[in-house]
């Protein structure tokens, strides 16, 4: 993975000093709350329900074991012994003290980490396919480009006060595991017929209050032009994006109001001015950064490991875990492993300091000392020998990290919700837990098959409910917490936004509602058909009538979907 040189270190050290001074001036009364707010947000520091929340950047989701140990140490020393992995591959501490944040940042800097631009109206942490570099369907390893973008966006002087936050996702495989269609900018690395590396550039996607699938603004952008083209998009957005209404300030609204053709004309005209400027990437720079992502010292192994095959045959629970949590790898004899942070009874994405230390140990022992955070809030060991899988599974199981549910209903993606977040309309963690309890029968869960269930506690949609096969959104009705349900959303290259099935439900009804949706699916499904495909084929009507009962849920009844207007 990328290692800082002396210059990268110097820059982060200067940021720590700057924020230390800003915090000092705030505590001394030299900066007002209003003045300090945008400064602390640029450093991922929120004032939450119980205490400040600090969001630490995990650039494009890659971590070393040393970094994970440092994060565990901070959780113990400055927090309550745990932390939360987010859908943007970041990490959040829920209980740090404001005056101790500069110390935390200094500790992070020692292991080449920071909280730069993890909030605020600026370019946020770049997100990436969590199988980048090891996926069998990879076209281009995009990790070096993600790091180059991280550096370019860090303290970009012109784009630090944008109309709204700005999220860039990067993917380099046939399949899309980074949701490039649902970001402000999605960069999908591809090759042309001559094998040259380029980028399919997507703009104006996003979730939130107005979910929109992005538009392709350029089919094939040569890789050298990556930074100048992104610069042109951001300049057009910075100049013309709306600033009068928080809810209409994202780039997707600008693209929608201008239309993609006009927006493209503006961007191309601006790009003509900056194309071939010194920001044009060089072979040397890409080679320099790519060297940090050179393959680890893999062994030459047979594709099939006899001991692994034997273990699969011997242990039903091991094979069930392998079926869900072990993923193919581009090297023979290797696999990638998801360590699930979705054990029933534990808030999705939460990990204790002990678990973090333990996973760091597993990474050292089994995966060259590195790991990844997925946008589904799990941890991934990317480079495990197949022969080690059984031992790894046993070790992970003992720490509650081997729930065999990746891709299944209980692998719930969930924001911290009203238990922690001051933006939330409703709690989300107890809903996730109640649903996990209802579906605790593993055989049943496997029979239901692949199903993404996403929960957001408010319209900011940190739980990505729009792209859940089943999406649950917390809403406020006269001060009470209710839950709106949508079905038919999906991530990936066929990204789609879910449709709301009708009026919202009380919290206690939610496990039953999900159960009725599943029953409908089991009645309606064709063989081998996923839940989301059944929804696509039969529409939402049968699901509605089962959930709301006879006489309810006829077409045209119930809540109007904000999604259908734009989908």
């Amino acid at each position: 993975m990328y290692r800082y040189d002396s210059l990268d270190h110097a820059l982060v050290a200067e940021r720590v000093a700057q924020f230390r001074d800003q915090t000092r001036r705030y505590l001394a009364g030299e900066l007002s709350d209003d003045e300090f707010r945008p400064l602390r947000l640029r450093n991922g520091l929120y004032i939450q329900r119980h205490a400040p929340m600090l969001r630490v950047a995990i650039p494009y989701g890659l971590l070393s074991s040393a970094q994970l140990r440092a994060l565990a140490h901070i959780a113990r020393r400055y927090d309550k012994g745990y932390a939360h992995f987010t859908t943007r591959q970041n990490l959040q501490y829920n209980w740090p003290k404001l005056e101790e944040v500069p110390e935390i940042l200094a500790l992070l800097a020692e292991v080449e980490m920071h909280a730069i631009q993890t909030s605020g109206n600026c370019v946020r942490n770049i997100t990436l396919d969590h199988f980048a570099g090891v996926a069998p369907d990879e076209i281009v390893d995009p990790r070096a480009f993600a790091e180059i973008l991280r550096q370019w966006s860090t303290f970009h002087p012109e784009f630090s006060w944008l109309p709204r936050k700005f999220k860039i996702a990067v993917n380099g495989s046939v399949g899309d595991r980074a949701a490039v269609l649902l970001h402000d900018i999605g960069l999908h690395f591809v090759r042309d017929s001559a094998g040259e590396v380029g980028i399919r550039v997507i703009v104006g996607g996003g979730m939130g209050r107005t979910p929109i699938v992005g538009h392709v603004i350029r089919e094939f952008l040569p890789w050298r032009d990556m930074l100048t083209y992104v610069e042109a998009i951001l300049r057009v957005y910075n100049r013309y994006g709306r600033r009068d209404n928080l809810w209409k300030a994202r780039i997707k609204i600008l693209v929608k109001s201008l239309g993609i053709e006009e927006f493209r004309r503006e961007v191309e005209a601006e790009w003509a001015e900056v194309k071939d400027s010194p920001s044009t990437l060089t072979d040397e720079e890409v080679a320099r950064v790519s060297a940090h992502f050179a393959p680890p010292p893999y062994e030459d192994l047979p594709a099939i490991d006899a001991a692994y095959v034997q273990s699969l045959a011997d242990s039903r629970s091991f094979s069930r875990w392998a079926e869900r949590n072990v993923h193919p790898h581009s090297r023979p004899g290797y696999a990638s492993v998801t360590l699930s942070l979705k054990k029933t009874g534990v808030p999705p994405g939460d990990a204790t300091a002990e678990q973090m230390d333990f996973v760091a140990g597993l990474a050292d022992r089994y995966s060259f000392g590195e790991l990844r955070v997925s946008h589904e809030q799990n941890l991934i060991l990317a480079d495990v020998r197949k022969r080690d899988l059984f031992a790894l599974w046993q070790a992970a199981k003992a720490q509650g990290l081997a729930t065999p549910n990746v891709g299944l209903l209980t692998n719930i993606v969930c924001c911290p919700g009203g238990d922690f977040c001051s933006l939330a309309n409703a709690k989300s963690i107890p809903i996730a837990e109640a649903i996990q309890h209802r579906f605790d029968d593993l055989d049943y869960l496997h029979d239901i098959g692949e199903l993404d269930l996403n929960i957001s506690g408010c319209m900011n949609s940190c739980g990505h409910h729009h792209i859940g096969h089943i999406g649950i959104l917390g809403v406020d009705k006269q001060g009470a917490e209710f839950y709106q349900v949508s079905i038919g959303g999906r991530q990936g290259s066929q990204a789609a936004l879910g449709q709301v099935i009708g009026p919202a439900f009380a919290a206690a009804e939610m496990p039953d509602v999900v159960a009725k949706l599943i029953d409908t699916y089991l009645d309606e499904r064709h063989e081998e058909e996923l839940f989301v495909d059944t929804v696509k084929r039969v529409g939402i009507a049968p699901f509605k009538s089962r959930v709301y009962g006879a006489g309810h849920g006829r077409d045209g009844e119930g809540a109007v979907s904000p999604v259908s207007a734009v989908a």
Partner: protein, 171 residues
């Protein structure tokens, strides 16, 4: 007379900026050097030039290209920041410098020491800080960072084109 930061020093401001308050008409021109809104500059260009020292200032939404023919005769162009979070003026500065403006480029309004480093990087060389903000204390923040990943008005080369020159050593 208020104080400004200019060329990395605190100085008395010799310019009077007119028409900033909402509803403030620019009719009578005071004696001395004045900075007028873009619309006033366009409407009364000849009169203003005959009178003496004059500069123009831009709102966030103004198109900097409207001044492109006047770069040679405007010793000062100022860009207003009505709210700290309105970042359009940063792009305005980039465009003015790119089009070839070489005179004094001033940021003024709701800005303080925590903004001026980035403002300097996009091409501003003078700063009129918000009310009650100490320009002397702010001077130090021009040096909050000694290096940057991107190119800027101060140096068009991004760090990746000069890492070795900048003394990068592995850690």
């Amino acid at each position: 007379m208020s104080q400004i930061i200019r060329n990395r020093r605190v100085e008395e401001d010799s310019w009077q900026t007119l028409g900033v308050q909402a509803g403030e008409e620019v009719s009578q021109l005071p004696a001395g050097a004045v900075v007028v809104p873009l619309a006033v500059w366009k409407a009364r260009r000849g009169e203003l030039l005959a009178r003496g020292q004059v500069g123009a200032w831009l709102r966030p939404e103004d198109d900097p290209d409207e001044l492109a023919d006047d770069f040679g005769i405007l010793p000062l162009i100022a860009v207003h920041f009505p709210k700290v979070g309105d970042g359009r003026g940063y792009s305005t500065a980039v465009l003015l410098r790119r089009r070839g403006y070489r005179g004094e480029l001033r940021a003024f309004g709701d800005i303080g020491r925590d903004q001026i480093h980035f403002l300097a990087r996009v091409g501003f060389d003078s700063f009129g800080l918000g009310v009650g903000r100490d320009p002397q204390a702010a001077l130090a923040s021009l040096n909050d960072f000694t290096l940057a990943y991107q190119g800027g008005a101060d140096d068009p080369l991004p760090l990746f084109r000069k890492r070795a020159l900048a003394g990068a050593t592995p850690r």
